[in-house]
Amino acid sequence: MEQDVKQNVTDDTIIKVRDLRINIKVDEGTLTAVRGVDFEIKKGETLGLVGESGCGKSLTSKAILGINDKKCKASGEIIFDADGMGPVNLLDLNPRGKEIRSVRGKQISMIFQEPMVAFSPMYTIGDQINEATRLHITKDKKESKKISLEVMKKVGIANAEKRYNQYPHEFSGGMLQRALIAMALVCNPKLLIADEPTTALDVTIQAQILEIMKELQKDFGMSILFITHDLGVVAGMCDRVAVMYLGRVVETAPAAELYAHPMHPYTQGLLGSVHKIGTKNQDRLFSIEGTVPLALNLPAGCGFYERCSKRIEGVCNAYDPELVDVGGEHKIACFACTGCPNAKKEGKADE
C-alpha cells in the first residue's frame, strides 16, 4: 500500500485527487454531492476549478484540508506529499488529529469567499495572522511578529505596524482579503486553496487582489487551487482549468485550449454566457436551460442529460460518461464528443 501511494506522486505533482466522493447525510437520505472527482496539481501551477453553485467545488476543496462539516463523509484518495510524513492520503488522517493540523495552514492553506466574516471580530488582525506563525514557525513572540508583519507588508497592507493592532471591523473588504492572504501565506505553503476569493469584492478590488495573488505566487512558488464560478477570472489566473458539474469533473484542459476549443456542451454553455466587452452583441446572453438537479437519488446516466443540447437518448441517460483523454492534456466526459460507450463500459454499468 505504502509503495502504491508513493508511486502516485511524481516529482512535480503537489497533490493528486483520485475518485473523491463526498456523501452528505440529510433528512431525506444520502446526498452525493461529489461523485468521483479526479485532478492533480503540479508544482507552481494554478488549477482553476469552475462550476456553478452547488456543483461540489467548495466541498472538494474543504475535503483536502479535512474541514468539511461532520455530516459530510469523504472517500477516495487525496495524496499529498507532506513534509515529515511523505506522501499520505489526507482522507486517512484523523480530521481533529495532530498530523492534519500540521498540514493545515502550514503546507496547505486556504482563503475564503467572504473576508468580512473570515476573521473573528474579537481579536486583532495581527493576533489572528500571528496565530498561524506561532503555530507553525516559531513560538518566539518577537520573531513571529516580525515574520507576520513582513508578510502583511508583502500583500500590500500599508502601515502594517498600525494595522497589526486593529480589529477586523476597522478594515475594508479588500484589506481584509489581503490580510487573509497574508495569514494563508505566512507559513509559505506548498498549496494555496482560494475558494472564490474575489466573489464578495467589487470589481476594482477584485483586479488588485488577483494581481497580488499572481505576484505572490511568483515570490513564494506555491501552487494554487483557484475555485470560482467566474470564467472571466479564470482566464487571467489559471494554467489549467477543470470544469465541474453536479459533483464531477466534466472537462479539463490547459486554460488557453479550453477557451479556444471548449468541447463539453456544459463548458460551451458556460463560455457562451460570459459577456465580452467590445462585441456588438445585440442578443441576450446565452443561458443554459434548466437548473442543476438535486444530487439525491440521481437517475442513471450523465448528470447534464436533462439540460444538454447534444444528448443522445438511450446512451446519455443510461451510462455515466468518464473522463477520456482527447489529446493535448484535454480530457472530457461526454459521449456526444467522444463517441458512444464501448462494450467495457456497458459491462461496468451492468454491475
Binding site: 484540508l65 496565530e131 480589529y167
Partner: protein
C-alpha cells in the same frame, strides 16, 4: 471609555430620583395606610380602638401629610442624614432591618450565583460540542425541566424527598439548636448542609436557562466562517472552542449578569418563604402587604440602584469583552 463611564454615572442620579418617586407613588396608591391595616389586624384579634387612638397613631407616624410631602421628607432624610425612615412593622429604623439580613442574603445569593455559572458554562459548552449526543439530550431535558418547574414546587419536592430519605426536616438555614445556642464553629458543617437545598432549588432555574443560552450561542458561533478559518489555519479544537467560539458566545451571558447584583441583594422571595430562609425577599413581601411603606420603598429603591449599577457594570464588561462595542462607544 472613561468619559463614557462618567456620562453613565451622571445619568445615574436622575434615573434613581425618578425611580424613587415612582416607587413611592405606587406604594402609597392602595387605599388606607399602615395604621389602617394595623388597626384592622388588631381589631380582628378583639382589640378596641377609639377614633382618637387612630388619629394619634396616624399623627405620630406623620401619615396625615399629603404623600408628596411624605416623599420629600423621606428623600431629604436619605440625602441629608442617610436616614431611610422608620419601619412600622419592626418598630425601628429601616436600615437596621435591612442590615439584619443583608450578610446572610448576600452570602446565600452569591454562592448560588457562583454555582449557576460554574455548572452552566461547562455544561453549555459540552452540549454545543456534542450536539445531538446522548449527553446533550439528557442535559437539554434537565434544562427544559428546570426552566419549566416553578422553584417553590421544586423546593417542596426536594424537602419532601430529603425528609423521606433522612427522616430530618431541613427547614431554614439554622436549626433550633443553633438559634438557641447562638452560632459557633461546630455548626458550620450542618449550616453548609442546610445551604445545599436552597442552593440546588434556587440555582436550578437560572442554571438551566444559562445552559440553553450558552449552548445556542456556541452553536451559532461554531457555524460561523471564522471558525472554519481558524480550523484551516491549523488551530486545535480546544483553541477554536475556547479562544474563538466561547469568547463570542459570552456576550448575552454577560448582559444577562446585569440583574445578578439585585439577585444577590434580595434573593428569591417565594422559594425563600417555602424554605423559610431568613433572607431579604420575604421581608419585602411582608412590608408591601402591611403597607410598611418606608421599608418597602427602601428595599425596592436599593433594588433599583442595584439593577442600574448592574447594567452599567455589564455594559463595561461587554465593552471590555467585545472590541466592536468598545469602538462604537468611542465614536
Amino acid at each position: 471609555m472613561l468619559r463614557y463611564i462618567g456620562k453613565r454615572l451622571l445619568l445615574f442620579i436622575p434615573t434613581i430620583l425618578i425611580i424613587s418617586f415612582v416607587i413611592f407613588f405606587v406604594i402609597q396608591l392602595p387605599p388606607g395606610d399602615y395604621v389602617t391595616s394595623y388597626v384592622a389586624s388588631l381589631s380582628a384579634q378583639g382589640e378596641v380602638f377609639t377614633p382618637e387612638d387612630i388619629a394619634y397613631l396616624r399623627d405620630s407616624f406623620g401619615l396625615d401629610d399629603p404623600w408628596y410631602v411624605q416623599y420629600f421628607n423621606w428623600i431629604k432624610g436619605i440625602i441629608t442624614e442617610g436616614d431611610f425612615g422608620y419601619s412600622f412593622n419592626y418598630g425601628r429604623s429601616v436600615w437596621s432591618v435591612i442590615m439584619d439580613r443583608l450578610y446572610l442574603t448576600m452570602g446565600v445569593s452569591f454562592v448560588i450565583l457562583i454555582f449557576q455559572y460554574a455548572v452552566s458554562l461547562p455544561v453549555g459548552i459540552y452540549c454545543a460540542n456534542h450536539q445531538y449526543s446522548a449527553g446533550d439530550y439528557i442535559w437539554s431535558f434537565i434544562g427544559f425541566l428546570g426552566t419549566a418547574t416553578p422553584n417553590f414546587l421544586l423546593a417542596i419536592l426536594v424537602m419532601f424527598w430529603v425528609y423521606k430519605a433522612t427522616g430530618q426536616v431541613y427547614l431554614g438555614l439554622f436549626s433550633t439548636e443553633m438559634l438557641q445556642n447562638g452560632m459557633s464553629w461546630k455548626y458550620v458543617p450542618e449550616f453548609l448542609g442546610r445551604c445545599l437545598i436552597p442552593l440546588f432549588v434556587i440555582g436550578t432555574s437560572g442554571t438551566c436557562s444559562i445552559i440553553r443560552t450558552v449552548r445556542a450561542q456556541m452553536l451559532d458561533e461554531q457555524a460561523k466562517q471564522y471558525t472554519l478559518t481558524a480550523r484551516a489555519k491549523g488551530c486545535s479544537e480546544a483553541t477554536i472552542t475556547y479562544k474563538y467560539a466561547l469568547r463570542s458566545a459570552l456576550n448575552p451571558v454577560v448582559s444577562g449578569m446585569a440583574g445578578s447584583l439585585n439577585t444577590i441583594f434580595s434573593g428569591s422571595t417565594v422559594s425563600a418563604i417555602v424554605m423559610n430562609l431568613q433572607i431579604q425577599g420575604p421581608v419585602l413581601l411582608a412590608a408591601l402587604r402591611s403597607q410598611d411603606m418606608y421599608l418597602a420603598g427602601t428595599i425596592v429603591m436599593i433594588q433599583a440602584v442595584l439593577v442600574v449599577t448592574g447594567m452599567l457594570l455589564s455594559d463595561i464588561a461587554l465593552a471590555w469583552l467585545d472590541p466592536r462595542i468598545r469602538f462604537s462607544e468611542r465614536g
